[in-house]
Symmetry: C2
Subunit: 259 residues, 2 copies
DNA sequence: GGGTTGAATACGTATGATTTATTAAGTAAC
DNA sequence: GTTACTTAATAAATCATACGTATTCAACCC
């Protein structure tokens, strides 16, 4: 039997994000959902295996309603399917909603996170240069100025070897580019990008010291957006992406971060 | 009070896709979820408005568990948040999981679908050329051959003015390119692309007769992938995307499909 | 006026009863 | 032996109800 935390008086139900990227799960429903989701993504509950509601009630020591609600959410994520007279069946990974923020977090917390970071980085290579191009065309002046400011601070944090500060600024920079694209679908990928940046930093897939060219490219992106030069913005962002991909590749092929 | 269909003996719980793209919703849970989700996307339930569980029970004539499970799913999609002593609050559209297939379907069924098709088409412009590039590098020979076959049939269907046949083949062509990219994140966008292609056809945002260049571009993409020429595959797919975007733009600016 | 207390409220959780779809075994007919 | 039909077992789906618990709001006191 797995014991779960009871409600605290401090926070509303659901998940409350913490500064370090983790979160407190309040409410039995959210906790059970998290445990089952993690177990599936980690492969502990293999594709095809079935479980009964009653079995889950006992395992987690919660009531039917809590389990059922968690199962419904997992079903809407394509992770399980529940069928009468059979039980709750774990579906193949090809069925999962890989763009669901919760699924992304579960997979990044599982073995196989490296392969996922590779997929996500490839996705970024397609998205972010195009977002930068659109931002150069559509971004309000205020956003462009803020991007310039962020690029400056990012440069400073890189020079000062301030890894944590760098990460926060980097996330904010890319978030602002995505939202400045004026396209809701691009903007929605900001959580995905933030998870990738956090993940590659925490799992040692970044060079210990950011390369000067990477820092300069961020300035170039911001400057191109401010000038309204779409092609330059695209090219500079593409440079950032390719460098990020190469850095990750070389590190996971050689084992440890380069200097 | 809204009356819902009772279970039929023909199909399992959940949603069963139909040939025409629609689906039968079996199970009270799925029906209630669909009704509320649609109402929110259509703007009938405005952002910020609150409803009580009991109120929803009465409106749909179902029990508490059914309503609660639907609400939990909507909460995981970022569409509502339920807070004690307040009720269930509809969240702003900026919080919704726009990549959830169900959310995409609800939004395409709502007014404002044109704006969404525009966003989605812009997203395709970023994704599909890159997917074609990767497919040229990674696609198994069998996939490349199948793409060539599809491109041929697509060309024939276009010449024959067979709109329905064209749509089916077009969906299959783009699905195969995405999955041949070898990237799970790209592959997962096949439902999104299928929805866009279906939507723009059914809402009259396609030219009545496919342009010859568009048909030729599909052949070019398939051929480039088979030759392993990444840059050509990228360029040809980009051509398809830009033409699609321009066609949609000109139609919704002038009102009716061009010849 | 500001902080504290307390009651009202609506969600959260637990549980038992009942219904319904589905599977699989058993049976009869061919 | 295979097919078709019937029946029983099973587990999810639904309903109904009770109780627990956080949050809000207002009355109250200092």
């Amino acid at each position: 039997m797995i014991y779960l935390m009871t409600e605290s008086a401090l926070v509303p139900e659901g998940s409350i994000p913490l500064d370090d990227g983790s979160a407190v799960l309040t409410g039995l429903h959210a906790q059970v959902l998290d445990l089952i989701g993690l177990a599936i993504c980690a492969g502990e509950l293999a594709s095809g295996s079935v479980m009964r509601i009653e079995e889950l009630e006992e395992r987690y020591g919660v009531s039917r309603s809590v389990v059922r609600e968690a199962i419904r959410v997992l079903a809407s994520m394509g992770m399980v399917a529940s069928r009468r007279r059979v039980g709750v069946q774990v579906l193949a990974a090809s069925e999962w909603n890989l763009y669901d923020p919760q699924v992304i977090r579960w997979r990044l917390a599982s073995p196989g996170r490296i392969a996922q970071l590779r997929s996500l980085t490839e996705l970024r290579t397609a998205i972010e240069p195009e977002a930068a191009r659109l931002a150069a065309i559509r971004a309000p002046l205020a956003n462009a100025s803020e991007l310039m400011g962020l690029a400056g601070k990012l440069w400073a944090a890189g020079q000062a070897n301030d890894a944590e500060g760098f990460l926060v600024l980097d996330i904010e920079f890319h978030r602002l580019v995505l939202s400045s694209s004026g396209n809701e679908m691009f903007a929605k990928l900001n959580t995905l990008v933030a998870e990738v940046l956090t993940g590659r930093t925490h799992y040692g897939l970044m060079p210990r010291h950011p390369h000067d060219e990477a820092l300069q490219s961020h300035v170039d992106v911001a400057s191109a957006i401010q000038r309204g030069n779409a092609d330059d913005a695209h090219a500079s962002m593409l440079g950032i992406m390719q460098r990020a991909f190469d850095e990750m590749s070389s590190i996971w092929e050689h084992g440890s971060p380069a200097a």
